[in-house]
Amino acid sequence: MGPLIVNEIISPNTNLLIAMLIGIGFGFVLESSGFSSSRKLAGMFYGYDTTVLKVFFTAAITAMIGMLFFSLFGWIDLSYVYVNPTYLTSAMVGGAVMGAGFIIGGFCPGTAFCALSIGKLDALAFIGGLVLGIIFFTEGYPMWEDLYKANFMGTPTMNELLDIPRGIFALGLILAAFAMFWVGEWAEKKFPREEY
């Protein structure tokens, strides 16, 4: 049955419409979880607030369990689901750049737009930096093309790399998520901050 667009159950335009509705919902949930506060986001790094970890990891394991059960019931063919190609070097370099920007700016790209929508000027400045970064990257692309395309690994998934069954990996990830939630809440007690 699924994915709906690959099996031509819905048209690409319907897909865009659904994407817009999901996007609005996503932004709403981001804002209502307090993700438009840059202090909350930076708190992930300093340890006084680990909401980011909890929200995104919960989202990830919910989606993972959902997809695996959909596949089990034959509602979706997971081989048609897009998997991002892995360029290991650029993933690491990009991860470091993104992480540094996250701590310095206090937003990630999605939450910056979320914060801008409720009128935060620091988010506007952050988006300005984001646009500059995009221009810098695209205009200078020939300079980093080699780095960008280094260590191409195809589209592996974690369980394929580790060579364990998909379900076992899923269970492991769920247990890891709960362990991280526990560590996160321990960190919140260990590095409390009165007001932020």
């Binding site: 019931f73 063919d77 379900g167 076992i168």
Partner: protein, 206 residues
């Protein structure tokens, strides 16, 4: 604290279930026996020799003829642009991209209907689309396209028009002097097949 316990009591059992069950690798689209019987009964898989001749003359790029006879028979005579997938090799991995695709119109043919229809039934049961059967096979092809018989002059105009078309197609497709070998043209390399997986949009980050 309480929230985490609730979440844990939902997610961990689900995780254990998903770890315990085998991965579902079945293709979702398969026909039931009843649906297949219905399709056979209606005969929607058959493509007429005239239609194939027309597509061949016009060099329709969407047509992919597939010869399901043995290799020896294929080398002796085959239709232009066809590939040879002997019935016994039908399920080999090598041909999967040919048979399971959404771009070209595959037409199976053999000497008669039988082998081609068997190939069609197998691929149809696997859920592959765009596979058809040349009605009557090569025997009927030779009878209608290569050596068309002139209709009686009392017949309707469209019969005569059909004969004229067949005569033209026969000349274009090397007919007239019965079954000649034109294998030097037909043994071309496999045409590239675009895989069925359609392009997908890159998913965004956070």
């Amino acid at each position: 604290m309480k929230m985490r316990l609730i979440l844990a009591s939902v997610f961990i059992p689900l995780g254990i279930i998903i770890a315990a069950v085998p991965e579902n690798t079945t293709k979702p689209f398969r026909l039931t026996a009843g649906e297949l019987l219905n399709e056979i009964h209606e005969g929607t898989q058959f493509i007429s020799t005239d239609q194939i001749a027309d597509m061949l003359v016009q060099k329709d790029p969407s047509l992919q003829l597939i010869d399901v006879r043995t290799q020896a028979e294929f080398e002796k005579y085959s239709l232009p642009g066809s590939v040879n997938i002997p019935l016994s090799d039908l399920l080999s991995e090598e041909w999967n991209d040919f048979l399971d695709q959404g771009v070209k119109m595959n037409v199976f043919y053999s000497n008669g209907n039988l082998k081609a229809n068997e190939a069609w039934m197998i691929t149809r049961q696997l859920g592959f689309k765009n596979n058809y059967v040349l009605q009557g096979g090569l025997n009927y092809w030779a009878e209608t396209i290569l050596n068309p018989q002139a209709p009686k002059s009392v017949l309707a105009d469209d019969e005569i028009a059909k004969y004229d078309f067949r005569k033209g197609a026969s000349a274009a497709l090397g007919g007239g002097n019965a079954v000649v070998s034109n294998s030097n043209e037909s043994n071309t390399a496999k045409p590239p097949i675009v895989k069925k997986k359609k392009k997908k949009k890159v998913a965004g980050g956070c």
